[in-house]
Structure formats: C-alpha cells, structure tokens
C-alpha cells in the first residue's frame, strides 16, 4: 500500500445556477494576459451542449485519456512513446484556436475619436490576436442556456448512445431541460497529460496531488493539450507554453480556498483531502467501463482505518493532512454516501473532481409545478426523467445507469425525508422506507442535509496545512506585473525569439 | 670499378658467414620465447647449408646480391641479401654491417638503435619491439599477445561493438522470452490461464 494524499473536490450540481461567477473570478486572477485571453481554466457548460472547446468529449477527434488495450493495460490514446517524437512537428489531435474561439475586444477608442456624423459611433470587434476587425462566430459559452437548441445540443457527444425516444424527449421544446456543468482541471490521480509530456515539464505534486506545469521546462511540444481528455490544458500562443488550472495553490498554501471555490454563489463546491493507494491507480483504471466507478472508489482509502493511517505515516504524510482527510467532505460525498461521481471515468485518468448529479431537472418532469415528490413513486420517476438517466450515466459513470440511479435515489430519499420533516406533506413511513431502500439512516440523511444545505465555509473547504511557500520562485509582486505574468516569476515570461 | 668489385668479393669471403647467435641468445633470455635464425635469416637453420635460402643453394645472381649486401658496412637505403629476410635486410640497411658487428657484444641495444618507427608486418607492434619480445617481425599473426590484442581490438572496435550490440540485443530478447514463459507458467499455475 503506497498511500498518497490528494486535494480533491466535489461539485454539487443540484445547487449550480450557471452564473459563471467562478469563471470570471478565475479569469480575473489568472488568465487576463496576452496569449491567455481565450483560456478559461474554470468554465461552466450547459448540458446537453457541446461545451468548450466544442465537442471536447469527442475523443475520436481529440484523442485524450487512456485506453485499455487487449491485455488490460492502460495506454495513452493520443500517442505511443515513439510516435510522440513524430507528433512534435504536427499533432493531428491538437485542438486549434477555432475549436475554442478567437478572443476579441472592441475598439472602444472609436467611440471617442469618431468624427461627427450621422451615425452613432460603434466600437467594432477586433481580434485580440491579429488586432484586425473580425466577425464573432463563437465565444467561450456560446450555447449557454440553449440546451434544447438543435444547433448546439444535438452535437453533444453524450447523446450518442441515447435511444431515439430519449433524444426526442430531450429536445421537445415544451419540455426543455438543462443542467450546468462547471469544470476545472480534475488534478487526476493518473493524469494522461503528465504521462504524455515529452519534456517532463508536467508533474504531480507529491504532497497534495496538484498537477502543475513547470514553465521553465515546458518546450511547447503540446502533447498534453491533446492528451488531456477534459481539454483543461491550454496552449499559450504568445509564450509558446502550455498552461492549466493550478488549483490556486498559492491561495491553498495560505489557507484560502481557490478563487472559483471562494466566489461560488451557490456554494456548490467542496474541497478536502482524499487518501488513495498509488499502487492501485493503474489497475483500478484497467477494468471494464461498467466497473470503473466502483473500482475507483475502492482505490480510495479510509482515513480512519488504522492500517491506512500507519501506511500513511510511513509515507511521510503529515498529521495535518491526516486530520484534514478525516474531516474531508469529499470522502463523505464520494465514498461514505456514494453521492458524488467522477466526470467521464471512462477516460481512465482517475479524476479527483467528483460531481453530485443534479436531481432537479431529472425529477422536474412528472408534476408540473412541483417536482416529483410523490413518496410512492420516487423511483419510478427515473424511468421517464426529463434528463434521461442514460445521459447522466454517460457523463458520470461511463454508461453505468445503476451507479447514477443509486446516487439519485439517495438524494431523492434525503429530500423527501427533510420535506416530510419540515412540511409534513409526505407519509413519513414510506419516506423512511425509501431512505432504508437507498441504504441510508436518518443520521446519514441529517448529515447529508447539513453538508449540502447549511455547511459553513470551514466545513466545505477543509484545506490541509500545505507548507510550500519556500518552493515558490522568488517572484515579482503580482500586484505589479498582473496582466503579464499571472502569479509572477523572477523573469518576465516573454516569447522567445 | 673493377678494383672495387674485387675488394667486395674478397671481403665477402673473408667474413665469417655464420648467423649471429648473440642476438638469438639475447632475445631468448630477454623474452623467454625460443627464437631461431629465421628472426633475421631466410632459413630457420641459419645461412650455412644447402637448403633453400642458405648459401649452398644460391644461384650465381644471388651470390652477386649477397656479396653486394655484405659490403654494406654503412647504413644504406636498400639492402637485399638473399639469405636475410626483410627484417634482417632492414637491420643491415638501417644500422650498417659495421654497427651490427659491433652490436654483437651489446645485443640489447639493437632495438633502440633500430628505432620503434618501423612495422614491417603491420600488426601494430614495431619491429624493434617484436625483436625484444621474440615474436615474428614479419607475421601479422604473431606478436606479444597483449600488445597484439589491444592493437587488433582498436582496429576491430567497430566490429566488436556491433557484435556486442548483437549479443546484447539477442540476450535481451532471450531474457524477455524467458520472462514471458515464466509469466505464462505463473498464470498457468494460479489457474487463470486462458
């Protein structure tokens, strides 16, 4: 047993309102620099929808993540060791600017400098790359709230395995349903981006598992961009280096939640420590699609198990981390309550960001004004849900409906239990029966309710005491060089000749 | 001219014709290898006798050559005695007959006086060194084993490297196959073979 600690996350989708506050917070802190304008380390997508970059889930095109070969071994989908060298010159799987969008601004000066005339002066859109006027055809969130629109949603990769009826139901204008999917880097336990980097610039921090790019080592070969199945690595066209979400490690190291977590209006985000067995990372990912979620759960280690604790201490994991792991909200959501699921586990990178699937649009169908809380019909409602279970299963369980239904059943049972408690309009016996059927006790239900609905900041973000300050480069003050250097570096990060 | 010829002929007959065993004795004791007259002479039994390369079997023309060679008292560019081999001729040409006769009392100086530049057989060991080692200065396949080995190793470095690569790769292949069999056996024993 090789115990490693990982800073892991849970996003509770039931609570996400798609306000993009997280995206804007991140953008303002990290990516408002030349070359990074098009990057959204944190973005929020409307599902069903094509996402950003467009159809990023289409791995036939972008070739991210791992595949399981005939021998049950994991292999990078994007490259082998040798053809990696050939792909330095041209990587067919790499997304280009048009797959994201061409960043633009407006020529605001025109508003002031225009000669007087008959027309109102306008600020025309200009490309932030060429400076030329441009027609805006795509943006970072182009299909926002257009879930049923055939223009965008039909191209959603996750719809491919849905039946005709399910699809029809989804795009029925009267019945439009959608959900939001905020995405940041998953800081995977078996990151394919790290494994693909020819220069060895990408690495996983041993103590907290954050995946970072050493900007001095990066040579811009771009293999990681193709290899990350979530397309959460971006190529800075100006500096010729790759960049990605750093989980705001400078904030973490000073005990603050990352910017996107901190700013989240819906309080959907949870952050905590997970222990996992590094020896099992590869084998856990080398099982069939159906078994992936369970397999990944079983590779996570119980932070209260004395054997695990002993092994953790042997591995030099500090008491602070052990304490954080024992109080971790992520552990409870993912393993204890089995509510949170990894996004696209079939990419086999063992993502460390888990999502609690949304109950609202699922249940929203049956009873117009009120969501389906008929205690007798809790579970039957899944069959004709507004968002098909299969769609959620494609997103969060590699197509395994059972895992998603399990999670939804628990969510529904807890909700019914609280409703029966607060409003008393449900039959308490059948509610308790549903709770039991979902495998929960009333204590569990109370705990889930508390963590979901009323948990304050220190309960949602259990940040381990990371001592990395000395590892930071002695940098210039971000206050001074903001806009050019991001976090800041001792040398201005300028494009080489 | 005529007088000169007469002198040469007279001298030739006045000279003792035998091999210089002093050199042989020195080489044997210095190198520990047995050496015979073929070190310098054409015949392993020395110049006297009627065998091939011995005085008794010389033709008229060869006698003439012999006499001319015997008169080479001072170093001269070319000496071509029929009873001496190339190394013997080289010695006479380099040192001169007079010096050779003097050196009979100091055979250990021959190598130094000859110098270590020449290598008649091209085996990488200078003739003078071969003289000291008691090995054949005219055979590419004969020399002090270690010297010869290093020289040939350098000369064949490429082939040796290729051979090494081939062996290493083959061994790697064999080991892989062995591990493969071991794995299969292991799988077979634990009962989950296909």
């Amino acid at each position: 047993m090789d115990v490693r600690a990982q800073t892991a996350m849970v996003f509770h989708l039931d609570k996400c309102i798609g306000c993009h506050t997280c995206s804007v917070a991140c953008k303002n802190v990290w990516t408002d620099r030349p070359g990074a304008e098009y990057m959204w380390w944190n973005n929020v997508e409307t599902k069903p929808g094509t996402g950003y970059p467009e159809r990023w889930e289409d791995q036939e095109r972008f070739r991210g993540g791992w595949t399981r070969d005939g021998d049950g071994r994991l292999a990078l989908r994007s490259q082998g060791k040798w053809d990696a060298l050939l792909k330095l010159f041209y990587n067919p799987a790499q997304p280009n600017l048009d797959d994201y969008y061409e960043p633009w601004t407006y020529r605001y000066a025109d508003l002031f400098d225009a000669k007087s005339g008959d027309d109102q002066p306008t600020a025309i859109a200009i490309s932030q790359i060429t400076g030329e006027p441009m027609a805006i055809e795509r943006g970072p969130n182009w299909d926002d709230d257009l879930a049923g629109s055939p223009l965008h949603a039909e191209k959603d990769v996750n719809l491919d395995s849905l039946t005709e009826t399910e699809r029809k139901a989804l795009f029925d204008v009267e019945q439009l349903a959608m959900m939001y999917l905020p995405r940041i880097c998953n800081h995977c336990a078996n990151p394919s981006c790290v494994a693909s980097c020819p220069s060895g610039a990408l690495y996983k921090r041993g103590e907290d598992g954050i995946v970072l790019i050493d900007q001095d080592k990066c040579r811009g070969w771009r293999a990681c961009v193709a290899a990350c199945p979530y397309k959460k690595i971006y190529f800075n066209w100006k500096t010729g280096k790759s960049e990605k979400c750093i989980l705001c490690f400078p904030r973490l190291e000073t005990g603050q939640a990352p910017a996107c977590f901190h700013s989240c209006v819906g309080r959907i985000r949870y952050l905590g420590v997970l222990f996992y067995d590094a020896e099992r990372v590869a084998s856990a990912g080398a099982v069939s699609d159906d078994a992936l979620v369970e397999s990944y759960r079983s590779a996570l280690l119980d932070p209260r198990d004395p054997d695990v604790l002993a092994a953790a201490r042997r591995n030099g994991i500090s008491e602070g981390f052990i304490d954080a792991a024992q109080r971790s909200p992520v552990w409870r959501y993912v393993v204890e309550w089995k509510l949170a699921l990894p996004l696209h586990p079939e990419y086999r990178t063992f993502p460390m960001l888990f999502y609690v699937p949304p109950l609202l649009p699922v249940m929203g169908r049956t009873q117009g004004g009120l969501y389906g809380h008929d205690s007798r019909e809790f579970h039957a409602t899944f069959e004709d849900a507004r968002i098909p279970i299969q769609y959620l299963a494609n997103l969060f369980a590699a197509g395994n409906r059972g895992v998603v239904e399990d999670a939804l059943r628990r969510l529904a049972a807890v909700r019914a239990y609280k409703r029966a408690q607060e409003l008393g309009d449900l039959d308490i016996d059948s509610v308790l029966a549903a709770l039991r059927a979902a495998g929960l006790t009333t204590t569990d239900a109370e705990a889930i309710h508390r963590l979901t609905a009323i948990a304050p900041y220190p309960e949602r973000f259990v940040i381990p005491p990371i001592q990395r300050e000395e590892a930071l480069p002695s940098s210039c003050d971000p206050e001074h060089c903001k806009g050019s250097c991001g976090l800041g570096a001792s040398v201005t990060p300028e494009r080489g000749a | 001219m005529k007088l000169h010829r007469t002198v040469v002929v007279l001298l030739a007959f006045a000279m003792p014709a035998g091999a210089h065993h002093e050199f042989q004795t020195f080489v044997q004791s210095h190198s520990g290898r047995p050496v015979n007259c073929a070190l310098c002479h054409t015949s392993p039994d020395g110049p006297e006798g009627t065998g091939a390369g011995q005085i008794g079997s010389l033709t008229e023309g060869e006698r003439e050559r012999l006499n001319r060679a015997r008169a080479a008292f001072e170093p001269s560019p070319v000496v071509d005695s029929p009873i001496l081999n190339d190394f013997g001729n080289l010695l006479v040409a380099r040192l001169g007959k007079r010096r050779i006769l003097e050196l009979r009392s100091k055979p250990e100086l021959v190598a130094a006086e000859l110098g270590f530049a020449n290598d008649l057989d091209g085996d990488g060991i200078p003739d003078a060194q071969e003289y000291l080692d008691g090995t054949h200065p005219l055979s590419r396949h004969h020399g002090a084993p270690l010297r010869l080995f290093w020289h040939e190793l350098r000369a064949h470095a490429f082939q040796v490297a290729m051979l090494f690569a081939a062996t290493a790769i083959t061994l790697y292949g064999l080991i892989s196959v062995l591990r493969g069999f071991a794995l299969r056996l292991q799988a077979h024993e634990s009962g989950d073979a296909p």
Binding site: F89, Y90, N190, K204, V491, A497 | V177
Partner: protein, 438 residues
C-alpha cells in the same frame, strides 16, 4: 582575407557563440526555450510545411553528420557505387522534401494573419537562411555530384581540423564557390541557433522514450522524485513479441555483420600477381623438398654409395646433416684423427633430430628432452632421458676416380690409410654394405 575569415574565423566565432549563447540563454532566459509552435493558430498548411521540412532536414542532417563525423567508415561505405548512388538519391529527395516544406512554411508566415501576429524578424531570417542553404545544397548536389564521396576527403578533414584545434583551410580553399558559400552559411546557422527559435533542437525530448509515465515531485527532498507506474504487468504476449523482435534484430545484426565476410570467404582468395608468385614459390619450395626427399629415397634404394661431402667440407665443431640409408637424419663431423666421424642424429629417447653444433664438452644436444650425446662415444650424459648411445655410422672415403681409399665399419674399425696430402680431394660416402679396404 574575407575567405579565410569565413572558413577559419567564422567557424570558431560560430561554435563559441553557439556554446556561450546557449549557456547564457539557458541560465538567464530559460522560459524562452520553446518550440514556438504555431499549430494552435493555423494547422491546415502547417502540416504540409512542418512535416516535410522536419523529416527532410533530419535525413539530410543525418547524412551530413555521418559523412563528416565518421569519414573513414563513410568512405568505406560510399566506395560501393550502389551505396553512393542511393545516398545521393535519398539526399536529393530529402532536400526536395525539406525545400517544399520550408517554402510552405515561409508562405504561411507571410500570408496568414494569425501566424504573422507571432512572427518575429528573427523567424523570417531563419526561414530565409535555411531556404538559401537548401538551394545551395541542392545546386551543389546537381553541379558537383557525389558529394557523399568527395566530402570525406575535403570537408570532413576540414571539420576535424577545426574540432581538433588545428584549423586548416587548405583542404577547402580550392573548392567551388558554391561549396564555400554553403559552408559559410552553415556556420552562420550554427551561430544563429542560441539567438533564435532554433534552440528548440536542443530540447529534443529523447528522455521521454525511457522515463516512467508519471512524474511526481515532492517538496520533501527525500522523495524528490518517484513514479506511479501506469503499466503494472507486462503480459506474456508482449514479452514474447519483444523477445521475438529483439532476437530478430540481434540475428539480423549478426547476419548483416557476417554476411559480407562469409561471402568473401567463399569467394576465394584474390591474390595479386606478386602474392600469387610468392605463394607459388612457397609451394614449389615444398615440392622441391618433397622431390628431394623422394630422390634421396630412390638414391638410397639404387646406389651402393651415397656421397655426403668432401672431407675438406667437414667441420670438427659443426656437424653436417645428411640422410642415412634408413632415411634417418645423421650428422657428419671431422674427427680428431682427421677422419670423418658419422653419427646418427636421431635421438634414442623419442627420436627428435639432435642439434648439429657441439658444446664445449664436444656433445650434441637433443632439444626435445635435453639429452647431451658425446659424439666420440655416442653416449648420453648421466641422467638424460635417453639411455642408449647414438650409433656411429660406417663410411668410406673415395678419391676422384671412385676408388675406395679408406673405410670405417659399423664396429668402429678403420681400414685403409689416408694420405694427408690427398685428403682434401677425398669424398666421404656411406655405403649400403659395409666396405673393407685393406
């Protein structure tokens, strides 16, 4: 002056500049090391430019490196016309490929707005220089063909003279202007490397081929690096495949290495006339010797007497080998009494031939197992491996008229008398049957 600067000064400026510049850039501006790919901004024409260019220039540079760095091996290879022609053809094809790729890249840089946004002056200089260099190279290959062969005697020694700090421009000073321009431009490119995007050639990520898939960095120096293996088991099939591949590569290497030697072995010796003559002489000599042996045998079968030597030819200290009637070696000395002394030379121990020279005690040595035989008595020394004495042989002395003058029997008894004045003219014979003269 200009020429010698370009050929001797510029190389050192370029090499030193390249080294110093690279160190400076790596130490102070490490962030600027990047391939600076523009695929992200434009990828449709890039694939038509970058792939041909990189593959072509790689082949061309590999050829240049092989010829210039290992000129002797290379010279041996291009001695074969087939190889030379193939190399020239491959080189030209690769240059053409590189030229096409470079042209596409240049056009793309000049026309695409997005790419222009990340194009610096240096980028354009690099492209232009390379284009010029390739054109020069192709022209050389066409106008002065077989550069793969002639460069080994000119450019390679020149390069080595520079590298070994014994610069010698005489090797290239007389080469055509095209070649000299190509050379000078090459040094220019070397100088340009650290100050342009060309630095990316220093970061070819070969280490990727054997590093572990995952990279983990610890702030705790004890565990500064370790890896999570993505591949846990190597299944048997993979091992077999790998083994088979390695075995065939090893076998192929071995076969390739030995094929030529083996072929030439069975091809037979190809001797020069001189070597053939020497070999023939050697065989002839052996044949003569065999003939002589046979003649000796015939002579001994037919003749009653066999002549050994004249009495005057015999020496008291050094024996003369001859072959007796049984075809065994024997020695003839001049005895103290002025008469011949004939003694068998076949050691009575194990039959080696004894040496012919006497030692101080008047003995001959059998070198095989160190028996000393006294020639007067024939007895071996005490303690010698040989126990039996060497037998003496009978002889007769005859004068010019074949008249027997004197003889000695096998029993050692002498018959007849020798007149000392006539002794010089007498010849020593051995006889088939014992002769006694009174």
């Amino acid at each position: 002056m200009m020429q010698s600067f370009l050929l001797l000064g510029l190389p050192y400026v370029a090499i030193l500049g390249c080294i110093a510049g690279s160190i400076w850039r790596f130490r102070t501006r490490r962030f600027s090391y990047s391939a600076l790919s523009s695929q992200f901004l434009e990828d449709k024409s890039l694939v038509l430019g970058s792939m041909p260019w990189h593959l072509g220039i790689f082949v061309v540079l590999a050829g240049h490196a092989a010829a210039l760095l290992f000129p002797r091996v290379w010279a041996g290879l291009v001695a074969s016309p087939t190889f030379l022609l193939s190399v020239e053809a491959i080189g030209l094809a690769a240059s053409a490929l590189a030229f096409v790729g470079l042209s596409v890249l240049l056009v793309r840089r000049l026309t695409n707005g997005r790419v222009q946004a990340v194009t610096s002056v240096v980028d354009l200089v690099v492209l232009a220089i390379f284009l010029a260099q390739i054109v020069l190279g192709v022209l050389i290959a066409v106008i002065h063909p077989y550069g793969a062969a002639w460069s080994t005697g000119t450019l390679a020694p020149y390069l080595w003279s520079l590298l070994t700090l014994r610069p010698d421009a005489s090797l290239v000073i007389d080469l055509p202007p095209l070649v000299q321009a190509h050379l000078a431009l090459a040094w220019g490119i070397v100088l340009l490397v650290p100050f342009s995007r060309l630095v990316h050639v220093f970061s070819v990520p070969l280490a990727y081929l054997w590093r572990a898939p995952q990279v983990v960095v610890w702030s705790n120096p004890r565990r500064w690096s370790s890896s999570v293996a993505a591949a846990t088991v190597l299944p048997a099939r993979r091992l077999f495949l790998r083994g088979a591949a390695a075995l065939s590569v090893g076998g192929a290497l071995l076969a390739a290495g030995t094929a030529e030697t083996l072929g030439r072995f069975f091809f037979g010796p190809r001797l020069s006339e001189e070597q053939q003559a020497r070999l023939d002489a050697r065989k002839l000599e052996r044949l003569r010797q065999t003939q002589r042996e046979k003649e000796l045998a015939v002579e001994r079968a037919a003749q009653r007497y066999i002549r050994i030597a004249t009495l005057s030819e015999l020496d008291a200290r050094k024996g003369r080998y001859f072959i007796d009637y049984e075809m065994r070696p024997a020695l003839a000395f001049l005895g103290e009494d002025g008469l011949p002394l004939l003694i068998s030379a076949k050691c009575t121990h194990l039959g080696c031939t004894v040496a012919s020279e006497l030692d101080a005690q008047g003995r001959v040595l059998c070198p095989c197992h160190v028996s000393f035989f006294d020639i007067k008595t024939g007895m071996p020394n005490a303690g010698a491996p040989a126990k039996e004495p060497l037998p003496h042989l009978a002889w007769v002395l005859m004068d010019d008229t074949q008249q027997v003058v004197a003889s000695r029997g096998a029993d050692g008894r002498d018959y007849g008398r020798v007149d000392p004045e006539r002794a010089a003219s007498l010849s020593v014979y051995i006889a088939k049957r014992e002769e006694r003269v009174s």
